[in-house]
Symmetry: C2
Subunit: 226 residues, 2 copies
């Protein structure tokens, strides 16, 4: 697939690298290409990091998304709507928009609160703002390295998907399978309103991080035998 990864941070770069290694054609989207090119990734510039990345492109949010089959939102939750606004509903229309973002307010430190919760969610806000996009909320209930490599955690553990478009969820299920997620570990929560459930779970994620002092954990939904 042609995939636009929105966001130049650790999560965006991690997804771009993994998706490229899986054979997808990846372009990273950013607000300002020139600023990103000269920004640092460790000791290298972003341009040097791109050159060593095996073919990842860099364009504006809008240009990266224009001919993408799937747009992956890996921007910080508080900036996601603005980033998507620069792309617009007409460009996002019909595309699968895989939303990883959590609306974290880190202005008061850890653990973060949410800028929206309970009676709304970022996933719903995005779907409302871009009604032609096929928004799927997934993966954001764990650290990004676990998203991309579930085998970091032993045994069974689960990932959730939420969205209004069944075909779009099927596309995301396919991508999750490429990352190594077994079909039985992918739990469909229902429509995009269930993004509230997984976004609000983030508070428990951070509480668990506070105690376990590692990001290498995830949850498994354990059921009684039917």
């Amino acid at each position: 697939m042609k995939i636009a990864v929105l966001g130049t941070g650790m999560v965006g770069r991690g997804f771009a690298t993994k998706l490229t290694s899986l054979g997808h054609e990846v372009t990273i989207g950013t607000r300002n290409v020139e600023t990103t090119q000269t920004s640092k990734v460790g000791d290298a510039t972003f341009t040097e990091w791109l050159a060593a990345s095996g073919g990842i492109g860099l364009r504006t949010y809008r240009d990266a998304s224009a001919d993408a089959d799937l747009v992956l939102n890996a921007t910080a939750g508080v900036h996601s709507l603005e980033a998507l606004e620069s792309i617009g509903d007409e460009v996002l229309g019909g595309k699968v928009l895989l939303d990883l973002a959590i609306p974290l307010d880190l202005s008061n430190g850890m653990p973060p609160t949410l800028t929206t919760a309970n009676s709304d969610s970022l996933g719903e806000q995005i779907q409302r703002a871009f009604p032609s996009a096929r928004v799927v909320k997934s993966l954001h209930t764990m650290y990004f390295e676990v998203m991309l490599d579930p085998s970091r955690i032993p045994g069974e553990h689960d990932v959730f998907v939420a969205g209004n478009d069944e075909d779009a969820k099927e596309v995301v299920r396919g991508l999750l399978a490429e990352f190594g997620w077994p079909a039985k570990s992918i739990i469909d929560l229902g429509d995009i309103t269930t993004a509230r459930a997984t976004e609000m779970y983030s508070r428990l994620f951070f509480a668990l991080y506070g105690q376990l002092r590692t990001f290498d954990f995830n949850i498994h939904v354990v059921r009684a035998a039917a």
Copy 2:
């Protein structure tokens, strides 16, 4: 222990019955004793249900709590503060207050929203309102039958505790062990502010219920080997 179970509903009765069978001296607390006595439990009156219960008492919230070692809040979250107000900080002072309640707003149907979330929680509100009580938030991340009998779910799954008083959490751990919870399945999340985490998790609980169509599930926190 002498235990006051606040709340006459399914959860309160379930805990009262289980705790009695474990040898504790249980009194159910209610707002109005006479109204409760004539209320129905299935086809029986509450008085008939009590008579068959093996010695469970029924008194007002305040009288039930007066000589209790542990007060268990099994009232509906939206009524909890009012119920505890009728007892008062002077009676609750020094006692372990095990809070099971979730501040569910069911006025718009299922799934419920929360009357407080994100920057506060019912657990914190209770601890602030009754500063002398030793509030421990636990157990409310699953259906009450699972709380009381974790063996309903096969394999490992977890229960959380949150609270400011380490000794009070130790008392609750002991009670959880009596219900059948292995020590390794009891996860201490930290102080009472982490009640936000487990109360906000309720949205995911209800989303999972919506899909699984059973209450017989729980989550297990799966960690990478240290």
